[in-house]
Amino acid sequence: MSNQAPAIEVKGLVKTFEGGRLRALDGMDIVVAPGEFVAVVGPSGCGKSTLLHLIAALDRADAGTIRVHGRDIASSGNLARYRAREVGLVFQLDNLLPTLSAGENVQVPMFEAELSAGQRRQRARELLALVDLTAKEKNRPAELSGGERQRVAIARALANEPAILLADEPTGRLDSESGRRVLDLIQQLRDQRGLTVVLVTHEADVASRADRIVRMLDGRAVPEEVPT
């Protein structure tokens, strides 16, 4: 690992729900280097998605710190700006806006980037080309296959050129061929753009695409292993 600050550094992260009765994260630690592709695996309810949501600043932790490129995100005065610029998020469900076309969905995060409408349109086309969906720019989500929708979601996640891509079970609802294409794309983005990728999955073959696997159990990381 190089001397530069980790892309993500999580320490002692605690998150509870239902008034403290449900402890989703219980002292979670994880460090991800810039450009690294890490898969977080574990059984259902072990806190994988919660970890991802906290790194994406969609929710607040009860305790612990999350540093992204050396900066504590809790001290960031503008979490919306952090979500818009620092991280790209891909959900298990594509979460595209149903009334907008593929191109328009990709443009949505760019409203926070002070780009003109023309610049937004141009960048969305480039991103759709990147995910091999140029021909589907005008199609609405309902007119796309599951795999295509997920690729649009990846293009949207890259809209503001974040350094980190967070993917929560991105292939969970896809057939194997579509899932493979999505994983190829993520790997290609990491290789070509140097993206740091944290991918949550419960599928071993998906995790095997990562540089490193972090296993979670009961809200904590268990010792790391290098995939063979």
Partner: protein, 371 residues
């Protein structure tokens, strides 16, 4: 895609609901516009009366329910004329009667010498001579209605008058009426020894406003009107109408805001998860707020446009009634449409406030978990 395009897409996803909401607000705006036009038109008609004498200002009885009920004694009229700051004080007696198809025939009693000194713009004939009794100078609209010309006889309240002149002032009430000797009008109206109003021309070198104030000071029962906005001093009708207009505007705002709030709350509830997605991809609370208020504003501004158009059509329809056509000339002033727009904007902001607050208050995860 522009931000406005996004706002429009959100509105058009529920076309029926959006249309019904716009329609509901439009009806409120229609009422505001139509009543505004009627009020302004009445004020304009009142303004015409103010201009009749071609003087600096008009004096009438303070607090009269309607200007036609104003009574100023000949003694007060004479006292006004004798004031050192007054160059001319001309009394006029109004009598409104039904003549022909016009239920608001405006018969104006004036002295022959006053009429000769300050006649209406004659298109035919002349004014009557001093000492004349049953002679009138007819307005061109009245002449057309009665199919009368100079030399003809017309009957006004069972009394026959000879038409000695016809004028055209361009003022609705005046052109729909006639000038007759004041003594005859007093007899017809049963009002001897009084006039309705006195038109005052201030002597050179005196300040008009100061003279008006001095008259109000010296004659506690009289009010001076220099501008149509002061008309409420001597005509409660305009005041009542303005109060009704305000009340209806407030009601329109209240009812409209509830309608918009209902629409926007449903829209925000339905889109809670989508709002979560927007937050997740980096939209700030401020942008979400702008989106929801933008949707509400667009609804209401469209409704204002439709309501204003319907309001104009409604007043046009009202003017098909002959009685009203003789009384009012519609005044579509900018103020009326600005008021409609203000009502629409207030409705939009009031209606969007709670839904927008709710949307912004949700954390991204709360919104994303919403099913």
């Amino acid at each position: 895609m522009s931000f406005l395009a996004l706002v429009l897409k959100n509105l058009f996803r529920q076309r029926v609901r959006t249309t019904l909401t716009v329609l509901g607000i439009s009806i409120g705006i229609t009422t505001v516009v139509a009543l505004g036009v009627v009020t302004e038109s009445l004020k304009a008609s009142s303004g015409e009366i103010l201009k009749l004498g071609g003087a600096d200002f008009m004096v009438a009885q303070e607090g009269a329910a309607d200007l036609s009920f104003s009574i100023i004694s000949d003694r007060d009229a004479a006292a006004l004329a004798e004031r050192p700051d007054v160059a001319r004080a001309e009394g006029a007696l109004f009598h409104i009667v039904r003549v022909g198809s016009n239920p608001f025939f405006f018969l104006i009693g004036r002295r022959a010498e006053d009429l000769a000194a300050n006649p209406p713009p004659l298109t035919a004939g002349t004014v009557w001579a001093p000492g004349a009794s049953d002679q009138v100078v007819l307005g061109n609209r009245a002449a057309a209605d009665l199919d009368a010309t100079v030399g003809d006889a017309v009957t006004i309240e069972k009394r026959e008058f000879k038409v000695v002149g016809i004028y055209r002032s361009g003022r609705l009430l005046e052109d729909g009426g006639a000038y007759a000797p004041i003594a005859i009008v007093a007899e017809m109206a049963g009002k001897s020894g009084v006039v309705t109003v006195v038109y005052i021309t201030v002597k050179d070198g005196y300040d008009k406003k100061a003279v008006a104030e001095a008259i109000e000071q010296d004659f506690q029962n009289l009010a001076t009107i220099s501008d149509v906005e002061e008309y409420g001093k001597v005509d409660q009708g305009v005041q009542f109408l303005e109060a009704a207009n305000l009340a209806i505007s407030v009601l329109a705002v209240g009812i409209g805001a509830i309608g918009v709030m209902n629409t926007m709350i449903m829209s925000v509830f339905e889109r809670t998860r989508e709002i979560g997605i927007l937050r997740a991809v980096g939209w700030s609370g401020n942008r979400i707020l702008r989106m929801i208020i933008g949707e509400s504003l667009f609804l209401c501004v469209v409704a204002a446009g439709i309501g204003a158009a319907l309001g104009v059509l409604a007043t046009r329809a009202i003017l098909l009634i002959e009685t009203i056509r003789n009384l009012l000339e519609p005044q579509y002033t900018v103020d009326i449409f600005i008021r409609a727009l203000i009502v629409a904007v207030v409705v939009a902001l009031a209606g969007a406030a709670y839904p927008a607050f709710r949307a912004v208050r949700l954390t991204p995860m709360e919104a994303l978990r919403y099913e």
